[in-house]
């Protein structure tokens, strides 16, 4: 056995190292319960994660090759594009950690903040394996590792009834979707006799489709559709997002969704890359996207609770994200990854504002935000930037990512789909503007009192704002991702 193949897993290994260090540190560095201050407090996980990102990103950025390699007989696949996605997810997790500081400094959370970091990082590790899987077994382990600890994190506010409810809904539906996926995998195994992705793809391409393989395709799409929360697999989303702690909702809405979307892309391209199947999943995604975007937009308009509102917004954003999947083209892949990156910056920025407001005032309804501009102009302004980016307004990054993902889908000839999605951007603009209107225009006699966010949240907000402003205009990010996408397929 050649040990050097472990080195190809440097992303996972360094993340594992971070987890282990935190594990050990957790034993020694119990923070002071009274002051709530300790070195451990956010600083250590954040720095470790940063080191991990730097170690993970730099080799990829410096070599710049489009070469991919496999390890352990094809169980594990590694491409530069995957490294990019893993880095994006890690950056997102870092931002989540930063904005979680205040929430974790609550008295009831102080003793268990170590668990939060560990559980979250384990789900991240699961996503890494999910992305890099070359074998369905590996993929399934990654998927489970990404879901089960997540349920514990969702239930983190253990004294809050909704948090437990959210967790129960999450875990039940996650298991259900995992079962669907497993069933799909077993059908495909029956049809092809292998669980390795690429040989399975070759076997499927060699023969024409059968009901068995089509059922496999549908089951795999529905299984991952749960994770991406596409309509009609979205039913858990609103309740879970509302019940989970705000920070965790941010994590759920960006990181797990993004990982699942990318993993779905890889599986579809590798396993169902044959033309007859591409046409089939194009048809499926057409309806999934149209339903997700339209229904989620219509539901979002009526929401009063901001987290629930963001849940529906996230469902509709997932619809846009999945537009990049159409045809499984390289341009679609670039657009999808870029969209994910931009969406991460904007959505986490919005969640950072929300969690900051929630921690300082305990308010989470849209009407509570009335008149926020008068008391907290900076937060309101940053929230507006993030919402504009989510709505796809230039010069913010969201405009570019939306434009590119539409362009990729249009290139494949999906004109009607693009048109429906475009009309829906107007609807989504409406509800994002409702929030802007609440902050800037609605009069309120007792708006949320002026407060100062803690420094960690400020750092998170600064990162997100920088992302929202520069990711689009500075074309280097898109061009870099594009240069890698051709090597993947």
């Amino acid at each position: 056995m050649d040990y050097s193949q472990f080195l190809s897993m440097h992303a996972e290994l360094s993340l594992l190292a971070v987890i282990l260090i935190l594990f050990v540190a957790d034993l020694f560095m119990c923070p002071d319960k009274k002051s709530g201050k300790g070195v451990y407090n956010t600083c250590l996980p954040a720095v470790l994660l940063l080191v991990h990102i730097v170690l993970n990103l730099l080799p990829c950025a410096s070599c710049g090759t489009t070469e991919s390699f496999t390890a352990f007989g094809g169980m594990y696949v590694h491409t530069p594009m995957m490294t990019v996605v893993k880095s994006i997810l890690s950056v997102g997790t870092l931002i989540v950690f930063l904005m979680a500081h205040k929430w974790l400094s609550r008295e009831e959370n102080l003793v268990k903040q170590g668990e939060f970091y560990l559980l979250t990082l384990f789900t991240l590790l699961g996503m890494f394996f999910m992305i890099s899987a070359g074998h369905f077994l590996m993929f399934f382990i990654g998927l489970e590792l990404a879901s089960v600890p997540m349920a514990a994190v969702v239930a983190f506010d253990k004294k809050r009834y909704e948090s437990a409810e959210a967790s129960a809904k999450f875990i039940l539906l996650a298991l259900f979707s995992a079962a669907l996926m497993l069933y799909g995998m077993s059908l495909l195994y029956g049809a092809t006799g292998t669980l390795y992705l690429e040989p399975m793809g070759q076997a499927l391409a060699a023969n024409s489709w059968t009901p068995l393989t089509v059922a496999g395709l549908a089951l795999i799409i529905s299984g991952l559709g749960f994770k991406i929360s596409l309509v009609p697999f979205h039913l858990w989303t609103a309740d879970t997002y509302q019940g989970a702690p705000t920070v965790v909702t941010g994590y759920l809405s960006v990181i797990s969704k993004g990982a699942a979307a990318f993993a779905l892309f890889t599986i579809l391209v590798k396993v169902f890359g044959a033309t007859s199947y591409v046409e089939m999943w194009n048809e499926i995604f057409f309806w999934l996207i149209v339903l997700s975007i339209t229904l989620a937009n219509l539901f979002a308009i009526r929401q009063q609770n901001l987290k629930r509102f963001m849940a529906f917004s996230a469902i509709s954003q997932a619809g846009y994200l999945v537009l990049g999947l159409m045809d499984g083209s390289a341009q679609g892949m670039t657009a999808l990854v870029f969209y994910l990156f931009v969406y991460m910056a904007a959505n986490l920025g919005a969640f950072a504002v929300m969690s900051s407001v929630e921690e300082n005032s305990g308010k989470i309804n849209i009407c509570d935000y009335n008149g926020l501009y008068k008391t907290n102009p900076k937060l309101a302004f940053l929230m507006t930037l993030c919402l504009f980016s989510l709505a796809g307004i230039p010069p913010f990054a969201g405009f570019f990512s939306k434009f590119f993902i539409f362009m990729a889908a249009f290139k494949g000839g999906h004109v009607l789909l693009v048109f429906i999605a475009l009309v829906n951007t107007v609807v989504s603009l409406y509800y994002y503007l409702l929030l802007v209107k609440a902050m800037y225009i609605q009069p309120n006699e007792s708006p949320i009192a002026t407060f100062r966010s803690d420094n960690y949240t400020r750092l998170a907000l600064a990162l997100c704002t920088a992302g929202v402003i520069f990711l689009g205009i500075a074309s280097i990010v898109y061009n870099y991702i594009d240069a890698l996408s051709y090597g993947l397929l």
Partner: protein, 504 residues
């Protein structure tokens, strides 16, 4: 590269202004930044015009001058390309004048002065960027940059049912841009998917069958902003609720983005479809012209009157470009200039009057001539320009348009032109009645007796605009020369294709 920097200064100056506003500590600093920035923009616009005229006189015949491109998103063939022709130079000059006078018109605006000017500057950045760009992506980006600040500008600083109007305006315009985006993708992919540059696409041509799809999309997309019937309904509400300078900028410049875009993208790039489908839009614009004028007659709110009058006049712009001959199109650009200036003047004056009387209802206003003679006299001048009195800008523009429209033979065109011409009479009716009602006679409202006349900043902004309106009216020739060489290539492009109008 030098060209890019030169033209991009129009975007950089607002950027620097944004930075300056961000750092400004008090109202005076904000005003300082705004005056410095808008003066610089105006100076640069005048310099550009002079340089452009000089280069043309020196025999420069390229379609676009000062072109340049930097690659932006290379895998998608998106460049940041700039270049101007006569039309865009005229539009840039107009925008600079409106931004300059708009700054003075909102001199006393409160509260949140700094934020107001931030969004105002962002809006003007979008406008300038739109006019200097010749890459569809950059144009579209700047177009949207110019639209979104309107929401906050109207929603926060507006009056009346501002929330409703702001939302309606934003959603309708964004709906238009959804169509537009689809049209842009269509043009890009049907022209070989190798460039977003308008000039290159015009050379390449768009596949004929698909033009029938993309032409209506882009034309309606821009037409929403150009107040094309039946998509004009945002305009009266939006204008009525907007604060003074925003109305000025919006009616004066932003609505021109629509006409300019229709001309530059929809018609220039898809000439066959323009010929074949033009008649549908010609009828719609004909309705805009007449319907706008008649609607203005029955309004009781000063701003609504002017907003409907804008629908009518902007309809005339689109009407003229759809006539597709050189005279009419020159008239269209003249009308954009003229309408921009005189509507800005009108809205400024209405804003000043409203700021004093706190009502815009014409039933409550009367005899203002004695109370505020300066504003009233200016109001009369604006009204006369609006109804097309010779010597002021309106006459020149409308005259050129109708002469050009009559050049098109055929019953269809003649009939439409005659119908559109009636709007001149109707305009005279509502303007003269309005002037008679609110300015002359005796003042019946005792609260209005103690009001004061214009302050220096208001006078300054109004005088600048009147000078421009009169200048355009008295010496239209140099402007039409400026415009002419911009219109000619587009008309040539349109003339390459036979007319297949079913009514011919």
């Amino acid at each position: 590269m030098e060209n890019i920097l030169y033209l991009s200064t129009f975007v950089f100056i607002p950027l620097v202004m944004l930075l300056g506003l961000w750092l400004a500590k008090n109202v005076n600093q904000v005003r300082g930044v705004m005056v410095a920035g808008s003066t610089a923009l105006l100076a640069l616009a005048i310099h550009l015009t002079a340089r452009f005229l000089g280069d043309r006189a020196a025999g420069e015949t390229a379609e676009m001058l000062y072109t340049g491109a930097v690659s932006w998103f290379e895998p998608l063939n998106i460049c940041y390309s700039v270049g101007v022709d006569g039309i865009s130079v005229a539009m840039i000059l107009l925008s600079a004048i409106i931004v300059f006078t708009g700054t003075f018109a909102s001199w006393q605006l409160k509260p949140l002065t700094k934020e107001y000017f931030l969004w105002f500057t962002l809006l003007s950045m979008g406008v300038f960027g739109f006019f200097i760009s010749i890459d569809m992506f950059a144009m579209f980006m700047f177009y949207e940059i110019a639209l979104i600040p309107m929401y906050l500008l109207i929603g926060v600083w507006g009056s009346g049912k501002k929330e409703y109007s702001a939302m309606k305006l934003t959603l309708m315009l964004m709906g238009g841009s959804a169509f537009l985006m689809c049209g842009i993708f269509g043009i890009y992919f049907d022209a070989g998917a190798s460039t977003m540059n308008i000039l290159d696409i015009a050379k390449h041509g768009v596949a004929l069958d698909n033009q029938y799809l993309w032409f209506p999309m882009t034309f309606v997309g821009f037409g929403v902003l150009g107040a094309l019937f039946p998509f004009h309904t945002w305009s009266p509400d939006g204008h009525a609720s907007a604060p003074t300078a925003v109305s000025m900028l919006h009616a004066g410049v932003l609505m021109k983005l629509g006409g300019y875009g229709c001309f530059r993208i929809a018609m220039y790039l898809m000439p066959q479809a323009a010929h074949e489908l033009g008649w549908i839009f010609l009828i719609l614009t004909g309705i805009s012209v007449v319907y706008g004028a008649f609607s203005a007659c029955v309004q009781t709110d000063l701003k609504y009157i002017n907003a409907y009058s804008s629908v009518s006049h902007c309809g005339l712009v689109l009407f003229a470009i759809l006539m597709m001959n050189e005279t009419a199109c020159t008239g269209a650009v003249l009308q954009m200039l003229s309408h921009g200036l005189m509507t800005a003047l009108f809205f400024a004056l209405i804003g000043f009057i409203y700021g004093r009387t706190h009502t815009r209802d014409i039933r409550e206003l009367s005899g203002l001539m004695r109370i505020m003679p300066f504003l009233s006299v200016c109001y009369v001048i604006a009204g006369l320009a609006n109804l097309g009195l010779p010597g002021l800008s309106g006459f020149v523009a409308e005259m050129t348009i109708f002469v050009g429209s009559f050049e098109n033979t055929g019953t269809f065109y003649t009939t439409l032109t005659i119908i559109a011409c009636t709007s001149i009479v109707v305009t005279a009716v509502y303007i003269l009645r309005l002037v008679g009602k609110i300015l002359y006679g005796t003042c019946t409202n005792e609260h209005h007796l103690h009001l004061t006349d214009a302050t220096w900043d208001e006078r300054f902004s109004v005088i600048c605009l009147i000078a421009c309106v009169a200048g355009l009216g008295i010496a239209p020739l140099w402007v039409s020369n400026l415009i002419g060489d911009g219109v000619a290539p587009i008309i040539n492009q349109l003339d390459k294709f036979i007319v297949l109008n079913p009514f011919m």
